[in-house]
């Protein structure tokens, strides 16, 4: 699904990713953990197509296709989704209208007709139930005045609506209380299938109790320095990151 090869990337001349490799197959969940400043959010933004990052070496393949030259919206049309750590507030544009626009723009790019209003409403209803989102919430301005938890839940609602092939969840657990965490995780798990893949970026193990990864990677200083299974996350939770830093620096 996603293949990242020897990726070097910098912003304003500062190298953030320094030869990162990652291979995510369809049907898999990968977790990327690591200390602050390791480059986790940069990785998420680069895969989703944020322009201010410059890829200096290496490449990103989505289903074997090099997507490095594609704009963010084109990547979205091909099935890449990023759940933002800090979702943006858009006054005057309701959640529903935003989703209609996103879905129909994507369908247009894929050469499909606009989704009939009836189907759209049905889909919105189904997916909002999945995330236990109140109907009233959908007619509020996107993210405006939402609590941290509401914003994150809304991100996963958008993911449910967009049905991406590759979803990257950037710190989706931050700002969530335990009930919201359970709802969000449950939603993600229901969206998971053999045909899509999920990359979870997180500081903490607690989300991974609910969204169980097939693989866990440690990102440190712009590289994946250690990979393992879900037990690695438990080990990191217990011991912190210092032992990894020591291992590397040794």
């Amino acid at each position: 699904m996603l293949e990242i090869k020897d990726l070097h990337a910098s912003v304003e001349g500062k190298e953030i990713l320094k030869g990162l490799n990652l291979n995510v197959k369809a049907g898999e969940i990968h977790a990327i953990m690591g200390p602050n400043g390791a480059g986790k959010s940069t990785l998420a933004s680069i895969v989703a197509g944020k322009e201010e990052y410059e890829v200096t070496k290496g490449g990103i393949l989505l289903e074997g296709e090099d997507i490095e030259e594609l704009a963010a919206e084109e990547r979205a049309h091909k099935g890449v989704f990023l759940s933002f750590q800090y979702p943006v507030e858009i006054p005057g544009v309701t959640v529903t209208n935003f989703m209609k626009t996103a879905i129909n723009e994507t369908r247009k790019a894929q050469g499909l007709e606009e989704m009939p209003a009836k189907d759209m409403l049905k889909k919105i209803r189904e997916k909002s139930e999945l995330l236990e989102i109140d109907r009233k919430f959908l007619s509020r301005s996107l993210n405006e005045g939402f609590s941290g938890g509401e914003k994150k839940r809304n991100e996963i609602f958008q993911m449910a609506m967009m049905e991406p092939k590759l979803a990257i969840l950037d710190e989706t657990d931050s700002g969530l209380d335990i009930d919201a965490l359970r709802i969000v995780a449950n939603g993600v798990n229901k969206l998971k299938s053999e045909d899509n893949a999920i990359v979870v970026i997180t500081h903490y193990q607690r989300l991974l109790d609910h969204i169980v990864p097939d693989f866990v990677h440690v990102l440190y200083d712009g590289k994946i320095v250690k990979s393992g299974t879900k037990e690695l996350a438990l080990e990191l939770e217990e011991k912190g990151y210092d032992w990894i830093k020591e291992e590397i620096n040794a």
Partner: protein, 437 residues
Amino acid sequence: MELKDKLVSSFLAFENTVDVDTAVHDIRSQAIKTFEEKGFPTKKEEAWKYTSLNTVLKHDYSIFPKEENALDFKDIKKYFLHDLDTYKIVFIDGKYSSHLSETTHDKIDVCLMSSALSNEKYRLIIENYFNKVAREDGLTSLNTAFSREGAYIYIPKNKLADKPIQIVHFSTGNEAAQMLQPRNLVVVGENSHVQIIERHQSLTDNPVLTNSVTEIFADKRAIVDYYKIQNDNQNASLIDNTYIEQHAQSIASVHTFAFGGNITRNNLNFYQKGEGIDSILNGITIIEGKQHVDHNTLVHHTAPNCESHQDYKGIFDEKSTGVFNGKIIVNKEAQKTNAFQSNNNILLSDKATINSKPQLEIFADDVKCSHGCTIGQLDDNALFYMKSRGIGEKEARALLMYAFANNVLSSVKIPQLKSRINKLIATKLGVNIGFDL
């Protein structure tokens, strides 16, 4: 001949044709003298530092309409709010068009200025209100001297204007260049309410210069909502001089939607004369090319416990230029005043300019006054967010601009008008998003 000289010499012939032997006639004679003395404003005046009328004044304008032109409603329907029942006062090249208008004298008066000026029935109102709040600057005096056509709206005490009133001025381009000087008088009695929508529309690229004066009186507890749609052709310039006098507990709001035209200058003046007044000044400016929009506002607080709220949003592309000059005066007596002013701007191009200048003159010591001004670009993070949801660059930018201007739009009280403004913005931004933008 220079425009000023042409106007002054034309007045001599004109004055013998209108309201001889009335109080208004004396006002005219005085006004032309004032204009002769002061002339057109120049950039040397502080209030006109960023707006030059030079290019606009060089045309050889016809000052009086020569003939009456007819227009078919179907050709100009789009300039009206036609999905809403309204009174209409319509002018074509400065002349009243009865077949496009819908006036009334049933409980309220919605009719022509010229008939109000010449009809004995209205003499008292005219004497009490005409040219009473307008300032004696060169442009306003010029308009006063030539005052003839415009809207006359009188809502007596305890009356609700049963539907909104549209005032629309068309220029047909039959003259090579045309100067228009509409004059509106709006008197709203105690506890009464009126909604007015005003639009100036040139139908060709021939130069048009409109020097409009509107005087509004809001008596105690009156509510006045005034909406100005300024979306004219590239050779049409507008100087809008609006003066509003408010009495105790009245609420007056003016929304200015400046989306096009050559040079647009709004002189919007609120004078508060009583306690518990609220004045609301909102504006959205979206321009490009070499368009120029200048908002020059004044709110004068003279009594305690009053409020004013100013919120102007501007989006400037290409080589367009904007000016915001907002003056708030709080007299010593006007304790407990709440006066707020905000002017936020987005520059979409390196060549676009905005000059924003708040002027606060506060003589009372127990007041809340704030002003804020921002100038920025579209937020890259927000753009990335939209794009990552599959929304293309152009649509994403449009949504962000819409979001930026949204709080001003949401204060429009007529749903059909709001929807129209939405559509104008979408057209302006060149997008077709699947919902009412």
